[in-house]
Amino acid sequence: MSLVLENLRIRQGEFSLELSATLGAHVTGIFGPSGAGKTTLLDMIAGLHRPAMGSIRLGDCVLTDCAARSFVPAHRRRIGYVPQDLALFPHLSVRGNLLFGHRGVEPSDARFSLEAVTELLEIRPMIDRSITALSGGEKQRVALARALLAAPVLLLLDEPLASLDARLKQRILPFLRRIRDAYPLPILHVSHDPAEIRALCDEVLVLDAGRVVRQGAPDSEQGGAAEDVHSSSRSN
């Protein structure tokens, strides 16, 4: 199922994002320096921001079409979103968080059942704990599980490893690989770490200052491209 972004435009103060792209890989990395527009792009895909112009299509489904004044609200898109700050509900237990999006969902695929997801991400031992009592890595897994349990058709991961130290990154990376291998759904994985992109993604969309710089395989050039983007943003 491909995600088609056509002439998307949004302006937020001084920042403007303008891009067109067709993303059809299983895991697509969205790569770029801070301020490139990665989170803004995910927010538009998830239906949290309305673009000023353009359209977003997922398979046959038109999610946003500014010209036709069509906009599917976030709660009807079935797009899982793990934001950078995780946005776990602090007033709910781990179980409450996991079941938030799972209630009313009839997963046709057993891989989206509570048992399967908690098993995959090794959450069962902590399921009755309070969110505030979890470590950073545990919270990360709960946020991933919560998004999966809503049985999404597309999964958006915004810098899932950025806030973790090197040791925790190494612990979470295998869980991300497990999700990639266990679920056929398309994943957009935002990162500013070329190694992370190379480790997890089939394709990469490189953004800088709200524009597409490159789209293609996350090959060894990616490291160079990444450094180019970093250095150009530093020099600006």
Binding site: I79, F100, V105
Partner: protein, 222 residues
């Protein structure tokens, strides 16, 4: 303490509770709209809601009387269509208490809603929750302490209301008389011991309400 005094205390508590209860949906809706949405006329509504805080209560009561009296535009309509009289009835007491305590609930609840990270509400949406479910399962529980504290403050304000109530509902013993009106009347009639007794009861209720409000505000989250 006479049966009349018990009736008076029960009536005052009942009217304050009823006005607070009726106020809650209106106050919460206003607080949420002021905290989370940008709309035309927002600053006007904001000012109108807060007006009873700074206007003399008697003046607010006079406005209410002109609007809700049988010859007023709203009161006349309610009398003709539903047969309801507002002025100089228990309904007038409820309205006066509600209008005077509305700002306290709205201000407190608004701050509480503003403190809820909007990212949590957005992500709840991506998990399939529509706006009502997001409000009742994320926004309201997270703003709960502030909303509860505001509700208790509004209730306490309603218990002590005097000026607007006497203008709109009068001071009819057994029908519209509340604790504060009865204290005033007792002093006027030279019944000092009854006035002090009622004063003591008012102070205890007000202390309990405010203490509850403070406790709710400063209680640690579990």
């Amino acid at each position: 303490m006479t049966g009349d005094d018990w009736q008076l205390i029960g009536f005052t508590l009942g009217m304050a509770a009823l006005s607070t209860l009726l106020l809650l949906p209106i106050g919460l809706a206003l607080a949420w709209l002021l905290a989370r949405r940008q709309w035309r006329g927002k600053s006007l509504v904001e000012t109108l809601v807060s007006l009873p805080l700074v206007m003399p209560p008697v003046a607010t009561g006079l406005i209410l009387l002109k609007l809700l009296g049988r010859r007023g535009p709203v009161g006349g309509f309610l009398h003709d269509t539903l047969g309801w009289d507002i002025a100089f009835t228990w309904r007038g007491v409820v309205v006066a208490l509600g209008v005077m305590s509305l700002p306290l609930l709205v201000r407190s609840a608004r701050v509480a809603f503003e403190e809820v990270p909007s990212r949590l509400e957005q992500i709840a949406g991506t998990l399939g929750a529509g706006p009502w479910r997001v409000f009742f399962t994320v926004s309201l529980p997270l703003a709960g302490r502030g909303v509860l504290a505001g509700t208790v403050l509004a209730f306490a304000r309603a218990l002590g209301e005097f000026g607007a109530t006497i203008m709109l509902a009068g001071n009819i013993p057994g029908q519209t008389s509340t604790l504060s009106l009865a204290i005033y009347q007792s002093v006027q009639l030279g019944e000092d011991s009854r006035a002090y007794w009622l004063l003591g009861v008012s102070a205890i209720i007000a202390f309990a309400a405010l203490w509850t409000s403070e406790w709710l505000l400063h209680r640690q989250r579990p």
